[in-house]
Amino acid sequence: MLRNEMKLDTLDDRINAYLDGELAQPSVENLLREADSNPAVRAELDRAKSLRWTLRSLDDSIAPPDLAESVLGEARRTSHQIERPPVARAARGRRLVSSLAAAAMIVIAILLVVPGPAPDPAETYTEQEVAQALEDIYTAFAIVSQVGERTGRIVRDEALMGRTIEPVRNALKGVVGPQDTQL
């Protein structure tokens, strides 16, 4: 008859369940009937109720008035030191990806614009391969453009060095605009 599944072997168990409000109504009625007919049960039940009421009456603590002010004052004073780990980590991650993309793009751009040894006739590229390479460069520029003007200048100054080839120039125009492609 108990609402939860605790076993009630003794009068003490039933009294505890009664005080916790976990004794079902029929069991409560049985306990009270038993108390009416048995002075020992009545005495035990009354002591338990008296103890419970006394304990409940002790819940009268009021914290000192200056406690909250002191704690909140400290919180307000340090609220600007707030840590925002998820945002900060995300920003750092984006910066890292952008930096890596910039580095990769610089390498690609140098390989494209710096004259190398005479091409081996066997190492000729199809139009599709060239288009894919330009697409990769375009993607790299798009990522770099997210990190701002400074990185854009680095790419322009350090990588292209005024010797960009036409397809790269066109790709760059598509990302950062014509005013930044006067290379």
């Binding site: 035990e44 603590s61 000192p64 909250a68």
Partner: protein, 176 residues
């Protein structure tokens, strides 16, 4: 004291302080029986909440605060060495089997008797009685705060209540 703030952490923290400061203070006061120390413990507990504000599961703040406050109280009691704060074997509900010194046999004040008996209750029984019977926390909250299985909380609490009643009865018999 509780000015509204545009900072979401601060607004949340203000509401937590308003919701828990009195209960935590009561818990610490009954544990330590020293108002100044209780104040220090609650201040320390709330500031730890603020320090850990970005890591706290807000739905569990009651259990978290209670656990931190209880641990701080136990640390202080250990330092005092005037009580037995560590968890005792299951049958040793009272820290000391002698009649509590603060219970005067002719004292008719039930409240004072109960306080004295509570003071002599060993851990974790004292915490359980304070949290459940004085502060009316749910069994689930208590189990979470004390890191005990739910059924263990019930068994320990029932045992503590029984021993408190027995001690009170003994006192009455001695008076008679």
């Amino acid at each position: 004291v509780f000015r509204r703030s545009s900072d979401p952490y601060l607004a949340w923290f203000e509401s937590e302080v308003a919701a828990h400061q009195h209960r935590l203070y009561g818990f610490a006061r009954y544990q330590l029986r020293d108002e100044e120390e209780a104040r220090d413990v609650v201040q320390e507990t709330l500031l730890r909440l603020w320090t850990n504000r970005s890591k706290i599961d807000r739905a569990m703040s009651t259990a978290w605060l209670t656990r931190v406050c209880r641990n701080a109280c136990i640390d202080r009691l250990r330092k005092r060495r005037t009580r037995q704060p560590a968890d005792l074997p299951i049958d040793d509900v009272f820290a000391d089997d002698a009649t509590p010194a603060d219970v005067t046999l002719h004292d008719g004040d039930m409240r004072e008797r109960v306080l004295a008996l509570l003071d002599d209750l060993a851990e974790p029984y004292r915490s359980l009685v304070i949290l459940r019977d004085i502060q009316d926390l749910s069994y689930d909250e208590i189990a979470s705060a004390m890191d005990l299985p739910l059924n263990t909380v019930k068994v320990y609490l029932h045992r503590a209540r029984k021993r408190l009643r027995t001690r009170l009865l003994d006192d009455v018999r001695h008076e008679c």
